[in-house]
């Protein structure tokens, strides 16, 4: 987890008599008006007893403004959010440290952190009994059910007098960010196929399991250059072995999220796109836990600064929005990705997508597809049989399962595993 980021902002002096006078509340202004009226009436009617009332009512807000305005405070606020990255539905804690280095303020300080509505109600604190060199830590929780990046802050500070007649407002400019990643589902382990090896054992081995010398050769495959043959190992094993120049033990997986607007249906949180994002995030997390080096690819391809960092990829998923691109970009599946595992999260497929999907299938050692049954997001009736899209993808040589709005992802994932087993069995039978 990354360190909580602390935003600190300083505000010199909440106060000033002129500001305080400008900050008279409705009640304060009404008091001033009533007081002036009473005094005028008293003067005109010759009632000196009424003058007393008028002076009290007039002077009260003015004295309050004076006292509040004189109590200049020097306040520093720092805010930290931990964790900075949360899954939707998980809480994050916001810690506020409020320090007053100035004079003892009069009245109460009302602090309100302006939090986007998606994160829950605003957090409001009434700080009373402040003194010089006063420091308080307050914390509250935020929680969002939708993914996205949220700005927490700025902190609005009000100084209120004890009679509710004057109110000074200040806003601290500093904000903190909170990234809420899509909601994920824990997936069961299934045989995924692909990876780098063609043996029955599909689980990628951790790099640290043996020494690099031991494992830096692999068996010869068609197309390997002859100069890479490792003759000593070949002699020992009895088969042609080649040196690995790529990182052999790092099982690679690519999650492809089709984020084109045209292949999705529905709007906002209830759209098939959100479901696709959630599925992609679940798979990403699952593969990461399974030891793969995972990267996220969208219809635009992979970003230039591809870090293969699952956290970064989740963050991308948190912010992703549908694009208007007409076609899937397959520039990423070049030499580098050859032989890796590709899990695609697809919407509806169109004839124009067929070349791209075929190309991906060709380059990947194992190609799995979760096909979001987007029509169900509009028609609300589940298709009776395998949806056309999933069928079409299957025809292209992908292992595909459909997922509707009411289907459970872990079940679908298991189905995908079974399909993989069948495919492996079929392969074995052919072999």
């Amino acid at each position: 987890m990354p360190e909580p980021v602390t935003t600190t902002s300083q505000l010199h002096s909440v106060g000033g008599v002129r500001d305080a006078l400008r900050g008279l509340t409705l009640r304060g202004r009404a008091f001033v008006a009533a007081g002036v009226t009473a005094i005028l009436c008293a003067i005109l009617l010759g009632q000196s007893a009424l003058t007393r009332v008028g002076v009290l009512v007039l002077v009260l807000p003015l004295v309050a403004a004076l006292v509040i305005g004189r109590g200049r405070t020097q306040i520093t606020v720092s805010r930290s959010v931990a964790p900075r990255l949360v899954t939707a539905g998980q809480p994050a804690r916001v810690d506020l440290t409020i320090v007053n280095d100035g004079r003892r303020p009069t009245g109460a300080l009302l602090a309100e952190d302006l939090v986007p509505y998606a994160l829950g109600t605003r957090s409001r604190f009434v700080l009373r009994g402040l003194s010089r060199h006063w420091e308080r830590k307050v914390s509250y929780q935020v929680r969002s059910d939708v993914r996205g990046a949220f700005e927490i802050g700025p902190l609005a500070l009000r100084v209120a007098d004890p009679f509710g007649l004057v109110e000074l407002r200040r806003t601290f400019p500093g904000t903190s960010n909170l990234v809420v990643t899509p909601r994920t589902v824990a997936l069961p382990r299934i045989p995924l196929g692909g990876g780098w090896s063609g043996t029955g054992e599909h689980r990628p081995q951790a790099f640290a399991a043996g020494s690099a010398e031991d494992v830096s050769v692999r068996e010869y495959r068609r197309g390997d250059e002859l100069r890479r043959v490792h003759w000593r190992s070949s002699a020992r094993v009895g088969e042609l072995m080649v040196r690995r120049e790529e990182q052999p033990w790092e099982a690679r997986a690519t999650v492809l999220l089709d984020d084109r607007l045209r292949v999705h249906r529905g709007q906002g949180l209830a759209s098939s796109f959100e479901a696709a994002v959630s599925v992609a995030a679940s798979i990403l997390t699952h593969l990461e836990l399974a030891g793969y080096s995972v990267r996220l690819v969208t219809s635009a391809g992979s970003p230039p600064d591809d870090t293969d960092n699952a956290v970064a990829e989740l963050e991308r998923l948190a912010l992703i929005t549908p694009t208007q691109r007409p076609l899937l970009d397959v520039g990423w599946c070049g030499e580098q990705a050859r032989g890796g595992l590709v899990v695609a999260v697809l919407g509806s497929t169109e004839p124009t997508d067929v070349p791209a999907l075929r190309r991906i299938r060709h380059d990947a050692s194992s190609a799995l597809a979760i096909v979001i049954d987007v029509e169900q997001w509009t028609t609300r009736t589940p298709a009776a049989d395998l949806p056309a899209a999933a069928a079409a993808v299957s025809l292209l040589g992908w292992r595909a399962v459909p997922v509707g709005p009411r289907d459970r992802l872990d079940r679908a994932w298991q189905d995908l595993g079974r399909a993989a087993e069948r495919a492996a069995a079929g392969k074995a039978a052919i072999r």
Binding site: L45, A49, P116, R128, P162
Partner: protein, 771 residues
């Protein structure tokens, strides 16, 4: 965070503070009554009852509609129990309360505050009103939680003595009420804060901070602010000059407007119309019912007006306490009573004539007042000497003429100087004719006088406002004739008319000017005020002397002297010449001294009449003022809307930037976010979400704005045009239609854009975060 039911200690505290505040304000009512415990102690109990009941009911979570009636019931039961002796609202109890209240009302209307134990106690009235105020303040401050509004009933309590008594409410009541009100305000504001957010004390999880509102308030500076404001309120008014304009004529009798009587005949109407009832002089006397106090006598009728004529005041006719000559014409066998009077005149009453009661036997003043032996009125011998601030005493007799007219004999010529019987030439003939008609069938001067008085009282209407100007000449005829303006007048006209008509009948007559009925202000102390100014005729009879009559109708002078109540048998005066001529049966079952006007028997009605009489003079003014204020309020309420409408019309007819500004102002009015520092296109993107259609008009408008702003200078794109106006109007309408009705109403009547520009609105609008 407190929501819903308040905690019991908190509710109890708030309710008790509210009750204590009200009681502190009610303390100012102690100026009304001698012995403040009479009303304060029951009210304290009542306040505690109301507070505790209210706190318990609110704590139990009962709806407001239940809380108030139960509190009212408890308060009513207690008040009933206190006044009537039993809390049950039986018929007898209710009657007893009614009696107590009407007695208190009478006392309040009759006597000047403070009202002592000699009069029926006003405590029941104070208790009932006080309990009502306790309920009201509790309702506003605790049940409805509108503490600032609860200040209004407190102000009402406080201003009652300010308006009605000279001393006004004391500083103590103000201090108590102010402190209580500030505590209520603070508690209210504090509750609001605690409801707003999570409270954090100076130290983590210290129950002390949350449970100790006093320490909390002190830390928050409530003490400093409250003490400073209250101290200023006590000190500053001393330096605030207070005008005594009496704009509404509503002030207490403590004004300083001077009443000047130089010429009694011309000043009276002005004094009567002045509206404000101002106390002019006080007398202390052993007379149980002092009445008509004479200032001056008008002897001489010029045909246009009555004047005081000449006075023969030689230096040996000083009011130095020496016995005065006996009253002219009064037979020695008339029974009489003698009373002593001590008079102190206020500084605001300037008269060259010294008020006395006729007939006086002795007048003692340290200043140079001299009397005329014929008219027996006292005039200042020194030009600088007026009655202002004067203190003097006199002794006067009250003859008891009985009710049969036994002492009244016709006067013979030569009894009185001819100036008292002379009539000017050119008097309308109708005067004598009316006099004859009115006294038709009377056999003696006495009967004529009684019938004349009756004629006036039965056929005329009293009104100062509608009275014709003047007393003589043409006015005289108008006054006597029937007609739209006829037979309406005020005391001076009645007095002069009766005097003139009496003279046409051969009865010597003159007009006296002075005060009618005083108000009793204490035991043996009476006060005459501006509204008591009056004029009446005095007629001369052999054996009775100068006798007062009262022709002014009952609207003003309720009663007539008892000796004028004789029943006159006018059907056939000739049939029974031997029967006692003016005979007569006693009219009126008055229990009072025969010659006492029966006014004291019913002070309530008398004062009510007086009030009605004086009220008429001010009611029109008050109506006008109220009407004007209402009009002013209406105009003030409608002004923002009108101004905004003008602005809108002007902007919509202007250049694209003006139309855009109008759109911004409309957004401000309707509280629609108007992001600042963005391009028109971005603003439009925000705005279109708050519009009911007309997106295309907005787009055209944005295009025009962009053209205006970014086109090459000199290109004619910023001209006003009809399409532009239509688009602007469409956008404004679309914005308005999409707003909630409440927001729309507010936008129409109180447009925020009048005092707030679009730049300042919603600076805090959070930037939309792309996800």
């Amino acid at each position: 965070m407190r929501t819903g039911r308040p905690a019991l200690p908190h509710a109890l505290f708030l309710a008790l503070v509210a009750a204590a505040t009200t009681l502190a304000a009610l303390l100012s009512w102690r100026v009304f009554i001698v012995g403040k415990g009479q009303y304060l102690i029951p009210l304290v109990i009542c306040g505690v009852l109301i507070a505790v009941t209210g706190a318990l009911l609110r704590h139990a979570g009962l709806p407001r509609l239940v809380v108030l009636p139960v509190q009212a019931l408890v308060a009513a039961a207690y008040v009933c129990g206190h006044i009537a002796g039993s809390a049950l609202p039986t018929h007898d109890n209710l009657v007893a309360i009614g009696h107590a209240l009407s007695g208190a009302m009478n006392s309040a209307q009759t006597y000047q505050a403070p009202i002592g134990p000699s009069a029926p106690s006003v405590a029941p009235l104070l208790i009932v009103c006080g309990a009502g105020f306790l309920l009201l303040v509790d309702l506003l401050a605790c049940t409805l939680r509108r503490v600032p509004i609860a200040g209004l009933p407190l102000l009402a309590i406080y201003s009652v003595p300010a308006g009605l008594t000279e001393s006004g409410p004391g500083a103590l009541a103000f201090l108590g009420a102010a402190i209580g009100f500030l505590v209520l305000l603070h508690v209210d504001a504090r509750d609001d804060l605690l409801r707003w957010g999570r409270p954090l004390g100076p130290t983590e999880s210290s129950p002390w901070t949350d449970a100790n509102p006093v320490a909390d308030a002190v830390r928050a500076g409530a003490g400093r602010i409250g003490v400073a404001a209250t101290a200023l309120a006590l000190v500053v008014p001393v330096f605030v000059p207070v005008l005594h304009l009496d704009v509404f004529g509503l002030g207490p009798g403590s004004g300083s407007g001077d009443i000047t009587i130089h010429h009694p005949q011309t000043d009276m109407r002005r004094d009567l119309e002045q509206g404000e009832d101002q106390q002019l002089l006080r007398i202390t006397t052993d007379d149980p019912n002092p009445d008509y106090l004479r200032i001056a006598v008008l002897n001489w009728f010029t045909g246009d007006e009555w004047t005081s004529g000449d006075r023969d005041v030689s230096s040996n006719q000083r009011a130095d306490g020496a016995p005065l000559p006996p009253p002219q014409g009064l037979a020695a066998d008339v029974p009489r009573e003698t009373y002593d009077y001590r008079v102190s005149v206020s500084d605001s009453f300037n008269s060259y004539w010294l008020p006395t009661i006729y007939p006086a036997t002795k007048v003692l003043s340290s200043d140079d007042w001299r009397y005329d032996p014929d008219s027996m009125d006292f005039i200042s011998a020194d030009d600088d000497l007026t009655t202002a601030g004067e203190n003097y005493s006199f002794t006067a007799i009250r003859p008891d003429y009985g009710t049969t007219g036994a002492f009244f004999r016709d006067s013979v010529s030569g009894d009185v100087p001819s100036t008292l019987t002379d009539l000017p030439d050119g008097l309308p003939s109708s005067v004598a004719q009316y006099a004859l008609e009115a006294t038709n069938g009377a056999s003696s001067d006495y009967e004529k006088a009684v019938l004349l008085q009756r004629w006036f009282r039965d056929n005329f209407t009293y009104s100062v406002e509608d009275a014709p100007q003047g007393t003589g000449g043409g006015t005289f005829a108008t006054f006597l004739n029937k007609g739209p303006d006829g037979r309406i007048g005020y005391c001076e006209q009645f007095a002069s008319a009766m005097a003139v008509m009496a003279r046409t009948l051969g009865i010597p007559a003159r007009v006296a000017v002075g005060f009618y009925e005083p108000d009793r202000v204490g035991p043996g102390v009476f006060a005459y005020s501006t509204h008591d100014l009056h004029a009446w005729p005095e007629l001369y009879f052999e054996g009775a002397g100068w006798v007062r009559f009262e022709p002014t109708p009952a609207d003003r002078a309720k009663t007539v002297p008892s000796y004028t109540r004789a029943r006159i048998d006018r059907s056939d005066p000739a049939t029974d010449p031997n029967a006692p001529k003016h005979v007569n049966e006693l009219l009126g079952d008055t229990p009072h001294g025969a010659d006492t006007p029966t006014t004291a028997a019913d002070p309530e009605t008398t004062t009510a009449r007086e009030r009605a009489g004086s009220g008429q003079s001010t009611s029109t003014t008050v109506m006008l003022v109220v009407f004007g204020l209402v009009l002013l309020l209406l105009v003030a309420a409608g002004l923002p809307r009108v101004v905004r409408g003008r602005l809108r019309a002007r902007r919509l007819a202007g250049a694209p930037e003006d139309v855009w500004a109008e759109l911004a102002a409309t957004a401000v009015d309707l509280q629609v976010p108007w992001p600042t520092g963005r391009s028109p296109r971005e603003i439009a993107a925000v705005l279109v979400e708050h519009m009911a259609g007309h997106g295309e008009a907005l787009n055209r408008l944005v295009a025009r704005i962009e053209l205006t702003r970014y086109a090459r200078p000199g290109s004619a794109v910023s001209e006003p045009s009809e399409e532009l106006r239509a688009d602007g109007e469409a956008c404004v309408t679309a914005l308005t239609t999409a707003a909630l009705p409440k927001v729309r109403r507010r936008g129409a009547w109180l447009p925020r854009s009048l005092w707030r520009s679009a730049d300042r609105v919603d600076d805090r609008l959070p930037l939309p975060v792309r996800s």
